[in-house]
């Protein structure tokens, strides 16, 4: 499988020649993951009064995203989803752990080398308005990656930009307009166009559709799925929306307070949820169908502070099935069936 001794991967992630539908989940496909995080840990330090406190944003986080695969990442606000995404892209330096890109350890790359990596890994954020410079025309924003990383100029550049805009469903005339002239959905299309300009192999989409109205969210989700098939993209799709995650993901990872509590194929998570937190989370989502009632496994209390996470299993303060061991020992993430791992002493 993964082989750290792999020769440095050749640059542009080639478009998947066989756009293979790995179909509903399982493991990363053939030649190993495109991106991998091993034991990723990120601590932030924060002053509280006169004391320096440690924020345990991400703790011993393992993940691998295969070529052409979408891994969904869910969990409550503040559980470390964005931090995980940023660590995988080198946007935040991990306190511990490694990041591998196509088998190559890139954790300690210099800033300059990471900048070169930007060709292969990209991020799409929630708020397309802040992602686009309001003072620059859409065309200029979309052209920027070409100006920084390639020699495309003049006519060629112009037609490359128009091609990109068309690819995401924007009219060619959009290039000459400013972001404020567009709706949220159109701006998100422009952000996607820019992210895909250099044909990255791996894209972290962080709440990329969360601010959009549902009818527009559907358009953008569909667009992302189409582009994935066309270019063999891999996504880490971060969202708090469990229905969107179900729709788009091959595999799904559930986080709680900086730790992975369950990971598996889509069907493992949605049809055979095992961790009590996953179950509670799924049972809380209101189903858009009055004929089918939401299950309601109520969780009492709020998320504990990541500055003071509970000992043992971090979910123990809210868990309906916790036993003594859960308050003392950390449950390891164990594989229960091929590809389906759970960190729980009880279930």
């Amino acid at each position: 499988m993964t082989d750290a001794q792999n020769p440095p991967a050749p640059a542009p992630a080639p478009a998947a020649d066989d756009a293979d539908d790995a179909g509903g989940g399982g493991r990363p496909v053939a030649d190993g993951p495109i991106v991998e995080g091993r034991g990723l840990t990120v601590h932030f330090y924060k002053r509280v009064g006169s004391r320096r406190r440690t924020v345990h944003a991400l703790d011993d986080f393992d993940i691998a995203v295969g070529p052409g695969e979408t891994v969904g990442l869910v969990g409550e606000s503040g559980c470390g989803k964005s931090t995980a995404g940023r660590a995988l892209l080198g946007a935040v330096r991990p306190t511990a752990g490694r990041v591998l890109f196509q088998g190559e350890d890139v954790t300690d790359l210099s800033r300059a080398r990471w900048r070169a990596m930007r060709k292969h890994v990209q991020m799409i954020f929630q708020d397309p308005y802040s992602a686009l410079n309001p003072k620059r025309k859409i065309g200029e924003s979309v052209a920027e990656p070409y100006l920084v990383h390639t020699r495309l100029r003049g006519r060629e550049l112009e037609s490359a930009v128009i091609e990109l805009l068309e690819m995401v469903g924007l009219p060619a005339g959009a290039a000459g307009k400013y972001p404020h002239a567009f709706s949220g959905g159109q701006r998100q299309r422009a952000v996607i166009a820019r992210a895909l300009a250099l044909r990255p192999g791996f894209v972290v989409a962080d709440e990329a559709t969360s601010a959009l109205d549902v009818s527009i969210q559907a358009q953008i989700v569909n667009l992302m799925v189409e582009l994935q098939a066309e270019f063999g993209l891999s996504y880490l799709f971060i969202s708090h929306n469990l229905a969107v995650i179900r729709h788009i993901s091959d595999r799904v990872a559930i986080m709680y307070l900086g730790r992975l509590v369950e990971i598996g194929a889509r069907s493992d998570i949605y049809e055979n949820a095992t961790h009590p937190y996953t179950r509670a989370l799924l049972s809380s989502v209101p189903v858009p169908d009055p004929a089918s009632r939401t299950a309601h496994i109520p969780l009492t209390g709020d998320l504990p502070s990541p500055m003071d996470p509970p000992k043992g299993c971090r979910f123990n303060t809210r868990c309906p099935v916790a036993v003594d061991q859960c308050f003392t020992d950390r449950p390891p993430l164990e594989e229960r069936s091929p590809g389906h791992s759970v960190a729980c002493w009880v279930n």
């Binding site: 109205d213 969210q217 569909n222 229905a243 189903v287 169908d289 009055p290 009632r293 309601h296």
Partner: protein
């Protein structure tokens, strides 16, 4: 899904009972007729709500959905006689138990007492400089006319009612010291302080994590069942509507396009926009192949077409649709639709 535990909360019979206080019921509390609120803009007047007609009875939970800018909040505020400048009333009436809410003296008397509102952002309506207790006490003295010991007792009773543990202690907390879910509960407690008969809840759970949303919705549901409070639930989440409401009103560009009991709308949406919305929502409880979405972009509210506002995006649009906007018409005894392609069956 293994998470399918017995589902105690929202009473299933609400669906069947929902034929109840529909538009023509005799127990009308709130009657809105032809309400229009305008906002002057550079490109002319935008109608935040446009000739809106609606009745709400007692013991009713009405959902209001529609995309961003469709007029949901403007409607909620107008019911309380609040039109925030630069907006202004341009016509129509709002009556609460027969009294004219557009009369500032009437609105001042009813607001916060018989009709209360939960605003989307609790930080806007909770004073950051005062403790939760100070704010509640002030409200109870001013609005409910309580004095002496009764004030503190009622404060504790209210916090207890919304499921806040250690209420006496929490009264000493400032809003910023509370978690999002806790703040939302305090907001609900504030709204309930004077035993309202109608609660307008504007996106009361947006931004909350699903497990906390579930707690808040369950609380609101129990309160409305136990105390008989009618709720106007403004939301963009069709799941919340399906699980919480009896009836739903779908809005587009300031107008009502459909209103009916939820069972009818979810099983057989009549307006093409309602249909499109339902087809845009991914399901958490099953795998769905493709999201259909709605083609096109949301409207520029300052440049409404002369016909039906949905016509440019409507897959069923015909000759008449471009000429004049359709009126909201009763097509069955429970359902109102504004579409030229749907009309009452000949009787």
């Amino acid at each position: 899904m293994t998470a399918a535990a017995p589902a105690p909360t929202p009473a299933p019979e609400t669906v069947a009972a929902s034929a109840g206080p529909a538009d023509d019921a005799s127990n009308r509390l709130l009657e809105i007729a032809d309400l229009t609120v305008g906002f002057p803009t550079r490109d002319g007047t935008v109608h935040g709500v446009d000739r809106l007609t609606l009745n709400v009875g007692s013991h009713e939970r009405l959902g209001v959905v529609g995309e961003s800018g469709s007029g949901k909040s403007v409607m909620g505020l107008a019911i309380l006689g609040m039109v925030l400048p630069p907006g202004r009333f341009m016509g129509g009436s709002v009556r609460w138990k027969g009294q004219n809410m557009l009369d500032p003296a009437v609105a001042e008397r009813v607001r916060g007492r018989e009709v209360a509102m939960i605003f989307q952002d609790p930080m806007v309506s909770l004073n950051p400089l005062k403790t939760v207790g100070a704010q509640l006490r002030e409200l109870l003295r001013r609005r409910a006319g309580l004095r002496g010991r009764a004030v503190r007792a009622r404060c504790i009773e209210l916090l207890d009612m919304v499921g806040i543990a250690n209420p006496a202690e929490r009264l000493r907390a400032y809003a910023f010291e509370l978690s999002g879910g806790m703040r939302q509960r305090v907001m609900i407690a504030t709204a309930l302080a004077c035993n309202p008969e109608l609660l307008i809840a504007d996106e009361p759970t947006t931004g909350l994590d699903v497990t906390i949303q579930d707690q808040v919705l369950t609380l609101l549901h129990d309160l409305s069942t136990e105390l008989g409070v009618s709720v106007l639930m403004i939301t963009h989440d069709l799941g919340v509507v399906a699980q919480f409401c009896d009836r739903v009103q779908v809005m587009y560009a300031g107008r009502i396009v459909e209103r009916a009991p939820i069972a009818d709308v979810f099983a057989e949406p009549q307006h093409p926009y309602s249909l499109g919305l339902l087809r845009s929502v991914p399901r958490v409880d099953r795998d769905d192949e493709e999201l259909e979405g709605i083609p096109g972009e949301p409207l520029d509210r300052a440049r409404l077409p002369s016909g039906c506002a949905f016509e440019p995006r409507c897959p069923e649009s015909g000759d008449r649709c471009g000429q004049a906007p359709p009126d909201l018409a009763k097509i069955t005894d429970r359902r109102w639709v504004a579409c030229f392609n749907r009309s009452a069956p000949p009787s």
